[in-house]
């Protein structure tokens, strides 16, 4: 028998696996098998641990005040930064602006996302469903900066919209660098998130339920309010909280479409780190924002469980 023939009878890949199995079998101890699941999760825990380390660093920095004569952080710890973050009118204005903006964005986004998700789920046309899905995913995958850039081209003072308006003799209008522009940009940014969270909830509503209501004499408005809306409520609340926290904490849209005069909390934090170099105050603001964000997500978990994001064990008997 030539070596070549023996390779064919017993392929190289088998030899390879035999070798690997032999090594594993030599290293393996039966008591490892209980630790196996934890060993598999460990890398993920360590990577996520980087964020925990980051939070610890933020807490540490937030307790140190900036010495304006030396521009170094103090050695001793105090809560002075938190007091400034909560008391200074600038931060109060910014916090109020972000909270109000996030609420408006959430309401408008849900109002637009619901019909979108409803049509996407209920349509009988596979082509339409696919077209709506692609329309949703394309901006989601393109990223915030390029999208905001598109809005600059459309809404700028020499932008497409103003050019078109001046062609018919109106304008120009100042469409950019104001609060409505930021909110509009945020709604566009949030729409895919909201639709993708609503769609499974609407899928779960049996269509017969609606036709039953309508056959019993309810018009579509009543069947919508009394049947569809209550059944879709978990999806609406989940989507609402995700949209609220994401828009509350957004940086890019207020920075690009707000033109510096419509900052949200994230922009204020960035400025503390990179403009005024007051790391301590920036860290305190960041931690307050983390607290608001976690509180909102904590509510989602409390209401719907961690399975909301699909990380639940299969319910196998």
């Amino acid at each position: 028998m030539t070596p070549w023939r023996s390779t064919e009878a017993y392929p190289l890949s088998w030899r390879f696996f035999d070798a690997v199995e032999a090594v594993v079998a030599r290293l393996w101890r039966p008591r490892f098998s209980r630790a196996l699941p934890y060993m598999l999760i460990l890398p993920a825990i360590l990577i996520t641990g980087l964020l925990v380390l980051g939070l610890i660093e933020i807490v540490d920095s937030s307790l140190r005040t900036l010495d304006t004569s030396t521009f170094r952080l103090s050695e001793d710890l105090s809560l002075a930064n938190y007091r400034r973050a909560l008391v200074e009118p600038l931060f109060r204005t910014i916090t109020f602006r972000s909270l109000a903006g996030a609420l408006i964005v959430t309401a408008v986004t849900l109002l637009l996302a619901f019909p979108y998700a409803y049509v996407m789920v209920r349509t009988r046309s596979g082509a339409l469903r696919k077209a709506l899905l692609v329309t949703l995913f394309l901006p989601f995958f393109i990223g915030q900066v390029v999208r905001a850039y598109g809005w600059l081209i459309i809404l700028g003072s020499n932008g497409i919209l103003n050019d078109a308006l001046s062609a018919v003799g109106i304008g120009p209008f100042r469409l950019l660098y104001n609060y409505p522009a930021v909110l509009f940009g945020l709604v566009q940014y949030m729409l895919p998130f909201a639709v993708l969270m609503l769609a499974p909830a609407i899928t779960a509503i049996p269509e017969e339920m609606e036709s039953a209501a309508e056959s019993l004499g309810a018009n579509w408005m009543r069947s919508f309010i009394h049947v569809v809306l209550p059944l879709a409520r978990p999806g609406l609340i989940g989507a609402g909280i995700v949209v609220f926290t994401l828009s509350l904490t957004d940086f890019a849209i207020p920075a690009i479409l707000g033109g510096g005069s419509n900052d949200f909390i994230a922009n204020a934090i960035y400025d503390q780190f990179f403009r005024t170099s007051d790391t301590g105050l920036g860290a305190a603001l960041a931690l307050l924002l983390v607290a608001i964000g976690s509180a909102a997500v904590g509510i989602v978990f409390a209401l719907f469980g961690a399975g909301t994001l699909g990380l639940s064990r299969a319910g196998r008997p």
Binding site: V20, P37, I41, P43, A44, I47, T48, L50, L51, V52, G54, L55, L112, P115, K130, L133, F137, L138, P139, F140, F141, I142, G143, V145, V146, R147, Y149, G150, W151, L152, I153, I160, D163, V187, Q188, P192, P200, A201, T203, W220, M221, F224, T249, F251, I265, I269, Y270, A286, L287, L289, V290, V297, A306, G307, L309, G310, L311, S312, R313, R316
Partner: protein, 266 residues
Amino acid sequence: MTSSRGKALLLWSAVLFSVATLSAPTLVVLGASFTAGNMIAFPPQGLSLRWYAAVAGASDLRQAFLRSLYVAAICTAVAVPVGTLAGIALARYRIRFGRTIQIYLLLPFTIPLIGSGIGLMLVFGKAGLIGQLWPVGIACCAINLPFMIWAVTGSVNALDPDLEYAAASCGAPPVQTFFLVTLPAVMPGVITGSLLMFILALNEFLVSLLLVDARIVTLPVQIYNSIRSIITPDLAAISVVFIAAAGLAIALLDRLVGLDIFLKSK
């Protein structure tokens, strides 16, 4: 009859408005990239590929793009093994404190991005890693890892455990079972997850902005820095890279797992 027509009218006007809002920036960037003029104007001043030529010749944009690719590659290369193993473990084994671990692993979604970014900036700063590119990839992996785990758990839940028992009873040792039975079965989830990780890292802006210095800006940061000064069509041409990447990712997702997967109720 009139009422159902009213319903259709209301639904469709909302949907059309959303479709227009979602697509407008993409279409406009695409259109602007082909303009022949020096300015972005409406109506466009003729068609040309001159801005693509300009981008191909601009080494700063090209290098920023290569850096973004590098970051996305590092992120995906780390996330695939880490997320796949964690996903299999979470869906397959009964784990003590499993619920706590799940909630812990969702931290990247619960901590606002600016918080994660600032935290990583402080951690990497202390470790002297600011100014290098690979930590940006690790950071992108850390903030998006739940997507990878979610995609894998989804397909592990669809995998029949009997397949693994069958392999074992046919005499396949554990490592072989893992690579030849378990891994191929969860492959759709691994592919979905890695596509998401790659594209999200390619686009990642805020964490990049916090972690890079002027010498190693990634493409989204480069575009952000440029649109704050003057808007020229060469940025539109380079932005088309992102549009093309997004289109490719969607086409791949649709072919490999089907976009409808996102509509399923749990």
